[in-house]
Symmetry: D3
Subunit: 156 residues, 6 copies
């Protein structure tokens, strides 16, 4: 037994069968961070005050990406989503990203929340890369999960 | 002047006009890391010896994602890609990911390489999450870039 | 309170949470019109009699677009669709388009019906633009809606 | 001869052969309008002053849609885009939409500009529909076109 | 009456209304074959023993394609999938492909299984075409179907 | 050396580097067949005479699929297409499908033509499956190829 649910007894990748699992309300929260220079942080914050566009574009990109998760991550189940929200906070040297996804379904939405964080981060990177060549995307991780038989989960 | 090329004089997001830029050969390399437990590393490494599937699935997901970059990152130009390769190395507590993208075009392929790394990382996360709840995706960044008028770039 | 359900208390765009809404049968009908010259109308009508292709292509494009609504309209919920039909009628100086969409779900299908009409209209435009440079797409609107807590709606 | 370039001699739909056409710089501008109540116009305008989100979301949706034109309109050629901009102006009873698309290629970008206008209009409709049930999308048309052998075109 | 459920009384294509059908568990199995030379079979089999990549890539492509069925086949209903598995066996002169798809829904998953087989076959073709110009994809067909009111079905 | 161009020296799948290949005009023709009962053939032929929809839908699905090839076949290069045509002929017990694709680029369009044939075949299957449970898709193969350094190719 491999312990990896996406690998069958014969070692081949497969989409795990969830047909026997109950339909329940599920929620997942993921976080991540784009580390930037203080100058870039100021630029985004000022831009934000005046027009909001860098963060607005990243938020939309993250929400759209959550809906594409099943198409991007090969063994993910396609899921209807009940809600997606993306929160973006500019600190002195980073943009902190939090995504929350909800579904009523047979599998969890961890990958949807994590995909939303990752694509929002890449979108910030894209919009700022002309002025900051040393950005890094850090600490993309699951921070909370509720619903489903594997029990609730919470981490910093 | 905002310094942000994706924001016009009126503060609105736009796809930057590249029609006057020359068509040149361009290459970008990006890296990132999925931090895992030593037990998970062993599981992937053994799985790898026997069947290769976790890493094979991540590699394919990354290559496919590079081709979708223009659809995921709102202000990216859609680009033909000449080549994409993804290298995956399992260390004691991480999977190290390197993606290289090439094009012959008017804009660079940094976002393609970074998107390939991010989606390969998420795919590893997805396949291993049943046995490791504390994974993190770290240090997603551009490590090399050649071609284009802004000059070559290299970083660790 | 902004009155706009897609904007949170903090002014940020979000996908509205529908998890507490009941699953019900919902239907929406939308209409629109491509205004063309009498010569173009005759050309489509004759084409139609002999081969049907202009209208057949537009019908298929509209049905496919209804299925892509959640991917095109950023804050739309992805929805399973139970049925989509597109009706096209060529008058003396227009193609009149009617789309009906049905789902069994937590949110309505207005946007699916409207997207089907819009893309069917653009497809007609594309196929006829070589002979008619003055076309316009007019009066794209919701004409009927049933199911859901906001009550039924009907308009000309 | 049908006069319709997308219909072959046998009456079947086809993607027209452009391989013999020269690669030239091409630009197209399209316009359209979402007709709304004065109350909705005020709501969007105020929302705009404070946060910009309704218009920001519509702008991003339009830009992304321009890049998907070849996938939405069956007989359109897939095209690399050099630039896309979307301008949105709120008047007393409408949102006026202008989209400009540019390419360096073998076919024009009329459909890209028109698709951007249509999806931006639908996105505004989606975000405002909870407070305004009588919206209409009107006057979606090509207003300017340059490049390509069929000559320049301009209309109000 | 035409007997073709996707064609309305007026002869126009439509997505058949399934809203009155019950939600039940459904499964479909499809098979197909890529006929290759004995040399190519040996090459894939050896490659398989050492690295698994040709078959691993085909398997992932087939699973991803099953999830895209509603977007590829115009009149198919978009469906959540509970499970997809793809089995690949290399014989002396062919790769035999079997795909199984499962859903809990209002319509069957025949097309999902058949699409998975077809795209897995094309992916094998793509990876091997540099060394074998005479490949053929043969015998793509439904071999089993359970669930739904039309009754179970089984064929060799 | 594996002989398989999509597999690197380390056994990992990759998108082959085509940046050094010249841009040339390329064309590929592929064929395939949906084997049906004589009754189904009559039904499609009559339907064809009256309305054309089964074949029209299959033709559009095939053209759209050709444009999605790079997204469906993991290691295919995304390509601009200059032309796609699909020819469908109903015989006594089959629908014969021929697809021709053209590009001006660095790689061939074999996979585009083969993907168009496969998805057109699946679309016919989908529209007729309610009345014919024993259909098979047979003989999907490349029949002609011109342009590119590997030389021209022709097969029955």
């Amino acid at each position: 037994m491999s312990g990896l649910t996406h690998i069958g007894a014969d070692g081949a990748a497969r989409m795990v069968d969830v047909s026997a699992k109950p339909v329940t309300a599920r929620e997942a929260e993921a976080k991540g961070r784009v580390v930037i220079t203080p100058e870039t942080a100021a630029l985004i914050r000022d831009g934000q005050a005046a027009k909001g566009d860098v963060l607005a574009v990243a938020r939309i990109a993250g929400i759209l990406a959550a809906k594409k998760t099943g198409e991007l991550i090969p063994l993910c189940h396609p899921l209807p989503l009940d809600a997606v929200t993306i929160d973006l906070a500019v600190t002195g040297d980073a943009v902190e990203i939090t995504a929350i996804a909800r579904t009523t379904g047979r599998t969890g939405v961890e990958m949807e929340a994590l995909t939303a964080v990752s694509i929002a981060a890449l979108t910030i990177y894209d919009m700022v890369k002309a002025v900051d060549k040393t950005m890094r995307i850090e600490a993309v991780r699951l921070t909370r999960k509720t619903g489903g038989k594997s029990g609730d989960f919470s981490a910093p």
